[in-house]
Symmetry: C2
Subunit: 475 residues, 2 copies
Amino acid sequence: MAHTATDPTAALAFAQANQDAALEELKAFLRIPSISTLPDHSSDVHRAAEFLAAELLRIGMQHVEVIDTPGHPLVYADHLHAPGTPTVLCYGHFDVQPPDPLEEWLSPPFEPEVRNGNIYARGAVDDKGQLWMHVKALEALLQQDATLPVNVRLIAEGEEEVGGEQIAAFLRAHPERLKADVAVVSDTDMFAPGLPTLCVGLRGMIYTEIEVKGARTDLHSGMYGGAAPNPFVALAQILSGLKDAEGHISIPGLYDSVERPSAAELKAWRSLPFDEAEYLAHEVGSTELTGEAEYTVLERLWSRPTLDVHGVMGGFTGAGAKTVIPAKATAKVSLRLVPGMTPADTFDKLKSYVAAITPKGTTAEVRLIHSGDPVVIGTENPFVAAATQAMKEVFGKDTVFVRGGGSIPIVGDFERNLGIPTLLMGFGLPDDNLHAPNEKFNVANFYAGIESLVRFLTLAGLLSVPHPSEMQTEL
Amino acid sequence: MAHTATDPTAALAFAQANQDAALEELKAFLRIPSISTLPDHSSDVHRAAEFLAAELLRIGMQHVEVIDTPGHPLVYADHLHAPGTPTVLCYGHFDVQPPDPLEEWLSPPFEPEVRNGNIYARGAVDDKGQLWMHVKALEALLQQDATLPVNVRLIAEGEEEVGGEQIAAFLRAHPERLKADVAVVSDTDMFAPGLPTLCVGLRGMIYTEIEVKGARTDLHSGMYGGAAPNPFVALAQILSGLKDAEGHISIPGLYDSVERPSAAELKAWRSLPFDEAEYLAHEVGSTELTGEAEYTVLERLWSRPTLDVHGVMGGFTGAGAKTVIPAKATAKVSLRLVPGMTPADTFDKLKSYVAAITPKGTTAEVRLIHSGDPVVIGTENPFVAAATQAMKEVFGKDTVFVRGGGSIPIVGDFERNLGIPTLLMGFGLPDDNLHAPNEKFNVANFYAGIESLVRFLTLAGLLSVPHPSEMQTEL
């Protein structure tokens, strides 16, 4: 059974004719309170998996399976009958964040309601609505002659909101079951309304603890203050030594291997509709922005390493006054890494520099808690071109390439275990209230996402299967 | 009933003849687990008060009263029948620290045991044993003809170990009930075994919180790191700006009003048996000592202002990695003050300087939590001379004058509410394990303390009643 569907016209017509049904199905999916972090809701997470699996079966996907795990289940399906074409791995998650604080919702979080062109519900955009776009695109393509223009595997997880441990374990144990040439994840947003967006880079990071020790035990600050080392003062001196007042990281050699984005990418970023005053006032809300003034805000967020302190442990933190010189103080410190940097090298440099600037009378230990590589996908990648063309046909605009300042673990997992790049093709909007009350998804974007995916899968079917060497994600 | 006892011989003979009885009584006092911080033991604290009151009544003190308070009780007694002589206010406390960790005690904390010339029990030296010296000295003086060589008031409290709130309130409300010319407190230790010691100065302090705010709410460090201000980084920059690497406080003008100890006092300190290597190895246990290298360790501890950080609040302090840029960070910061400095002026200077060095993008607020004046008593004070002579007669050595780096709140309370100086005449030893397992009190020191107090009260009776202006404690 070879594929013949190189023309998406019929599939698009089907999708358009069935928009109302798709929205009603999504509502039913959203009514399941599949909150992965609350043990009371684990049966709901399972129910969402069964709901998704039933629909995948109904539309004609094959090998549909709810995969039980020690945690929440995974859902798998495939349709691998397009020889000579690439294999696309679709990913999404069907678990959601808790809805608290409930009193701030204008309509109940698990009773979806459409208002002003948006569907409001917990999970509307993150990620049930975006996962449902994939299902509806596959349905539209399959309805004609039960074929797809490419080989497709779909994997969905039920605990993305609590760390994604089970899918990571599955990927490590069974990479062959998800063998593909590219992954498509719709779990991000567009840079601005109407602006098709691909996220083509993510920062990596190292997350560390710096522990400073002074005296053997806690001492009374009256009796010993002035002669005994204070590890909090020493820690402050170390931390302020790691970053200067202008936001530059002072660790020697840290910037040596940083790769700058291409001139074209930088030019594209400068043309994005980004209003710094608006960002300061409405997103950050501080007196002014900080960081390296010689770079634009988007460059600082997407292509520059940063160092942040997340908390400091030890000592006295209760109410009132306890006059103690604590024996130790520990800071949680992370660095975000950009292409060209590696976690191992960055950690080595941090460690050496902390050792060099540790104040006298104290000792410091630097521990690595967690790390992740930076990821970047070349914009000349043929799947990127297919996605770009697909979205141009839907939105009438060129796709903007952005990066993300944070990391999306599944992207690293696909890279590490499958050796494939990921297209982060999301249709949310910046004000969709992810993880907050009144989460929403723009209904027009939901439909546009379905059409974009229909077109993308069709265009991907025209590509030749890449050789592994061509597909190597740039790091 | 005029006093006639200007010769302590009979009283000393009585005290010596009754040493065994005094020790047995102290054991009974120590068996009461009067732990003020544990609600389960509040009846024990009351029992200790009743025990003390009964003994004061038995030995012939008058107006003996257990004074109930909203917290633990006070015990008051007086004997005011020595007209033309000064009034001495004796102070002690009958509550104790918790005994944990129990497993480290060689004999149970509330079953007093004498080993190697020491009595081991919780409260042995802090402060039941030292309070009992006062009781036994008064008994020895009273036993002859029911007179005392001076007017005496005694006040003891049951919550010194939890802040002394009730005695402070009583002093504010009823200063006339404790009207006296000098206070004698035995709740400190001798600089070294056999070396009679008076503590004639205490550092003051301001205890503050420095709160730094950045963004309006917590932000994701991946999405915002590099442009949003990090209040922990800013706080580290502020704290490291407050103190340089050599231990000098960088607040402008802070040292301007610092009064140096007299040349005689400094000379005396240099002759004290202080071993810096021993202090580093056994008391502090850090790799080296810190602070202002141009001053001796004792000068740094007793006569130099210091700045310490006690803890930092806010942010993420759990296990693992949470990638948050917290909205705020707060440090507990105190300065110790020495004569010449005032809390108000020091706080103003700290506040102004923090404002001047607060990094861009953040705001800082400095709050005063607690403050206390530095205290110093002139060594030429006639009561100091009386105490010195008394201890020389007992120990055969000149008294050494030391200071304390911390504060003893009751000294400030006496100063503020009664306008009188306090003699800190203690007989503990540096290794008595205060607040630790195996607390002890040297039995010979217990007896020597009784004799010293008999002699001191006798000598004090020879002094004329000071005019208020002469008695002003130097600040």
